[in-house]
């Protein structure tokens, strides 16, 4: 049971990193990023590929964050010139293109077969110690990310982000260029996703392109909607609920025999779809949100 809780806890924290980044991009700045999973994937693959070539993990993690952040730049530039809905479509297309590249460039990524045997983080400790160490490292990472985000939100920079979200044209008319702020936010959120990806790769020890489908992006969206868009605490709470739901669905399979995993996947998809619709309709401020978004 311990091992199970530690594993679930690790998943929660990985998703939390994703949610913190997305919440900053959308909740704070109004950027509709439907391609978040792309940065997750890039971070995972970057770190995994380097580690498989012998790089020490701290270095590969750093590169993962950097790769994700750099990949966010063209999207950030696009975000400057596009309306929200166009940005949504472009980011979605971006993430599908990234997945396609990961799938096709077999020479580098082993394509659909994926990358097995990725060095486990803290593998040297062995046994339960490794799992605990991963959990603690993730805890530290999430705490650091949350703290950095909190500082950001409380600062003049954060104030300007909210101003951009509320009325970008007014910000421009006041002499400020929303561009630099949007790009930085995009990059920071992407870097967090990249680090999450690196943790994911060295936790699971196997990654493949199918793990990085748009559904994952919308899992994260569901987290921030559940928790109340714009609220850091809400993002964390929403993540807990999301993982509870994902894990719960696995338990249902154990309780009800004869349900194939593939069917369960469809049920999960249905529930996510339904949840998106219902929350948007009836509770846009989320479960813990204060004001209607």
């Amino acid at each position: 049971m311990d091992a199970y809780l530690i594993a679930v806890g690790s998943v929660v924290l990985i998703y939390a990193l994703l949610a913190i980044g997305l919440n900053l991009q959308y909740g704070e700045t109004g950027l509709i990023n439907f391609g978040h999973v792309a940065f997750f994937a890039l971070g995972a693959y970057a770190s995994a590929l380097l580690a498989l070539r012998g790089w020490p993990l701290p270095a590969s993690f750093a590169v993962a964050a950097a790769v994700a952040a750099v990949a966010a730049v063209p999207l950030g530039l696009a975000a400057l010139r596009l309306r929200q809905d166009y940005l949504a479509i472009v980011t979605l297309g971006f993430s599908e293109t990234v997945r396609l590249v990961l799938q096709e460039e077999r020479a580098i990524t082993s394509g659909v077969q994926g990358l097995p045997g990725i060095p486990k983080l803290f593998g040297a400790i062995g046994g339960k110690g490794t799992d605990l160490a991963i959990l603690l490292a993730l805890l530290a990472a999430v705490a650091l990310a949350a703290w950095a985000t909190h500082l950001l939100k409380a600062s003049p920079f954060g104030r300007l982000l909210r101003a951009i979200r509320d009325n970008e044209a007014a910000v421009t008319a006041l002499g400020k260029d929303p561009a630099r702020y949007k790009i930085q936010v995009f990059m920071f959120g992407a870097a967090l996703a990249g680090i999450a990806g690196a943790f994911y790769a060295h936790f699971l020890t196997f990654i493949s392109p199918e793990q990085f489908v748009p559904l994952v992006t919308f899992y994260v969206w569901m987290s921030i909607i559940l928790g109340g868009v714009g609220s850091l605490r809400g993002a964390l709470a929403g993540t807990l609920l999301l993982v509870a739901f994902l894990e719960g669905s696995r338990f249902i399979r154990d309780l009800v025999p004869g349900v194939a995993e593939v069917q369960m996947a469809s049920v999960r998809l249905a529930i996510v779809g339904l949840a998106l619709i219902l929350f948007v309709l009836y509770r846009p401020q989320g479960l813990f949100g204060r004001r209607a978004s």
């Binding site: 509709i32 439907f34 472009v90 297309g93 096709e104 593939v262 998809l269 998106l276």
Partner: protein, 299 residues
């Protein structure tokens, strides 16, 4: 690459483009009136394809089972189901979101897409299906190979498009729809007329998606990701052609189809989606209004 090779790709691209034009048109009409990109369009196509393939399977062997009659009835069934689902989605979801920000409708449409897809796989399963149609051999004009089925697909698509455009141009409700699409402020029509118009719009979107799905299913195979995979090219076509321009969406779709096919010798067949994305990205950066759209609507 020989000239004949290029011509073959171009022909295939035109057929694909004609099929993409149907959801692209649905997208652009909904976009200009309801003001959001309807991400459920793709999965509505998938639904249409599955309904049609199912109905056709039922009819095979019966008096109605001939290819022509069977397909026609199957398509009619698909059209009815998708139109109903589309209007229901409007009534239950998008109308209620009317005053909310665009993101809300967009997220809801993603949710709807997931819901439709998951229900299809729960009820029918993940296997692929194909339409029961006679095998055809390609006609060969000195190297230029044309599949008769492709010709039929292209023809059906063009006929449907022509009918819709005729309706938009000459039909009474169609002209009204067109007027509202051109001038968003007209959407403030009050009362039953506005309601009826919206039902027409969403039904039309359903019809176009259904036929697009069937044609796509005929051309390739019917599988759960069928429509979703076409969503990005359809979006790209809509944006390339210009928001608010139905004709633009069709031309954009044809260009996208041909462009994607012509890119195959360069990047391989699996990167077609990437090509769609590339086109989308470049167009939005250079000329967000697209070929025939109006710049005011773009940014």
């Amino acid at each position: 690459m020989t000239l004949v090779g290029v011509a073959n790709l171009a022909v295939n691209g035109l057929v694909e483009g004609a099929v993409i034009a149907l959801p692209a048109l649905a997208l652009t009409l909904v976009m200009s009136i309801a003001r959001f990109p309807n991400a459920a369009t793709g999965d509505l196509m998938t639904l249409g394809a599955y309904v049609a393939v199912g109905v056709q399977a039922l009819l095979v062997g019966s008096a109605f089972g001939t290819p022509l009659l069977g397909m026609t009835l199957a398509t009619v069934a698909a059209v009815i189901v998708c139109a109903v689902v589309s209007v229901a989605a409007y009534e239950l979801i998008f109308r209620r979101l009317g005053r909310a920000a665009m993101v809300a409708s967009l997220l809801a449409s993603i949710g709807l897409a997931f819901l439709i897809r998951s229900l299809i796989t729960l009820v029918i399963g993940h296997e692929q299906h194909t339409f029961a149609l006679p095998l055809v051999r390609a006609w060969n004009f000195g190297g230029l190979r044309i599949l008769p089925s492709d010709l039929v697909i292209g023809a059906v698509a063009l006929v449907v498009l022509a009918a819709v455009f005729a309706w938009l141009r000459f039909g009474r409700s169609g002209r009204l729809l067109r007027a509202v699409a051109d001038n968003p402020d007209l959407a403030r029509l009050s009362g039953i007329r506005a309601q009826r118009l919206m039902w027409l719009l969403w039904a039309l979107a359903g019809v176009l998606s259904a036929i697009g799905g069937v044609l796509l299913g005929v051309k390739s195979v019917v599988m759960p990701e069928l429509g979703w995979e076409l969503l990005l090219p359809a979006f790209a076509a809509m944006i390339l052609g210009g928001i608010g321009s139905p004709a633009g969406a069709v031309i954009g779709a044809l260009l996208m189809g041909v462009g994607q096919e012509l890119s195959v010798p360069l990047v391989g067949p699996t990167y077609k989606i990437a090509v769609a994305f590339g086109v989308l990205f470049v167009v939005l950066l250079l000329r967000p209004a697209g070929l025939f759209g109006r710049p005011e609507l773009a940014r």
